[in-house]
């Protein structure tokens, strides 16, 4: 049963070791944390694991939380750090280990993106289109857009989370939106059969 306690009250009870509060703690924040992880790294199983790891770290660090930031921002920071680590590992390491009987060149050819944007347009899959277009953004712009568009953080909260000046946040948002506008316009103009919502969507 969820209570109507404030974030601060809930955190205080968690720090005291109240078990029900731990449960509520997760219920209250797991969905936004999972959503942030998913939109940042784009893989649901790994996003689930990042979400799990976020709560593990949060549980460990709770006694040290002094209310210096809004609690959700504090959780977001843990999540973004884990996502950043995940992205770095992915860039360093091969995405999959290649079995001996598989040609790495063929495997690379079959790797993401497995589906062209035209296919997505033809299938009118706007969710996948947005997901794909978001990957075209540099990390900093993508993170700023995600935090603003999907989590409703203020410019100042984003600046604090990303460790950059407020003006930089605005620049990243502006440039990110400009890239998205351009990329979505390409999608709109992409040749596709039919005239589904993706083609009709004003972008």
């Amino acid at each position: 049963m969820l209570t109507t306690s404030t974030d601060e009250e809930l955190v205080a009870r968690c720090i005291r070791g109240d078990r029900d509060s731990f449960n509520e703690f997760i219920l209250r924040w797991e969905r936004p944390i999972y959503a942030l992880a998913y939109r940042t790294i784009g893989r649901k199983d790994d996003a689930r694991d990042v979400c799990q790891e976020t709560f593990l770290r949060a549980f460990r660090a709770l006694p040290g939380f002094r209310g210096q930031a809004k609690f959700l921002s504090w959780l977001y920071r843990i999540t973004l750090n884990l996502c950043r680590d995940w992205i770095r590992r992915q860039r360093r390491a091969p995405f999959v280990s290649v079995p001996e009987d598989v040609d790495p060149v063929e495997l690379a050819a079959a790797a993401e993106p497995s589906e062209g944007i035209e296919d997505l347009v033809a299938r009118r899959d706007l969710t996948r289109i947005v997901e794909r277009v978001m990957t075209r953004l540099p990390d900093e712009q993508r993170t700023a857009i995600i935090l603003k568009e999907y989590h409703g953080l203020t410019f100042q909260e984003i600046a604090d989370l990303m460790g950059c000046p407020l003006s930089t946040v605005k620049t990243r948002l502006y440039q990110g939106l400009a890239v998205l506008r351009r990329e979505l316009a390409k999608v709109q103009d992409a040749p596709a059969s039919g005239s589904g919502p993706a083609r009709r969507e004003r972008v």
């Binding site: 731990f22 999972y34 694991d49 947005v130 999907y150 410019f155 502006y174 939106l177 506008r181 979505l184």
Partner: protein
Amino acid sequence: MTNHVTCTYPGDREGAIIDYLYGETDAADRNVFERHIVGCAVCRAELDEYRGVQRTLSRWAPPEPDRTPEFSPLLTGPRLAVPKADLPASSPAPTPRFVAMPIWARVAAAVLCVGVGAGAANFRVTYSPEGLTMRTGWLSDAPPSPASSASQQPWRTELAAMADELRREMQSRNTP
């Protein structure tokens, strides 16, 4: 297409557009910018385009996490079995769809993950309907070993004992 050259806004135009778009501007600045866009087709068009981008972005919803026979202590639980169609169309966030597991088990698993992880980086403890189980791999599921179910039993017993210990520890922490 827009052409910034034809816009004569005095000042940080990009910042002003972003401030206005997201409503994070004080009344005075807002008035100045609104007066500007009345006469500036370039800015009006650009704002319209960004609002279109925002509408498109709003269509992106993360997928529900997969249910797996062996799953993490988070994002799981009996309520996840409720068909999506049966859920309310607009339930307030956060919804309790993901979790219905005793928290002591999650915290125990969490602490075990941390503790055991320190000794073996690629080792992870999770909780499933059958009790505490293990998986390997950092932020990824390890492929199941053919002998896993047989070999996990002693571990499970040991881990369940550790979890009980942690539970007692938590209870004692609650006691003043």
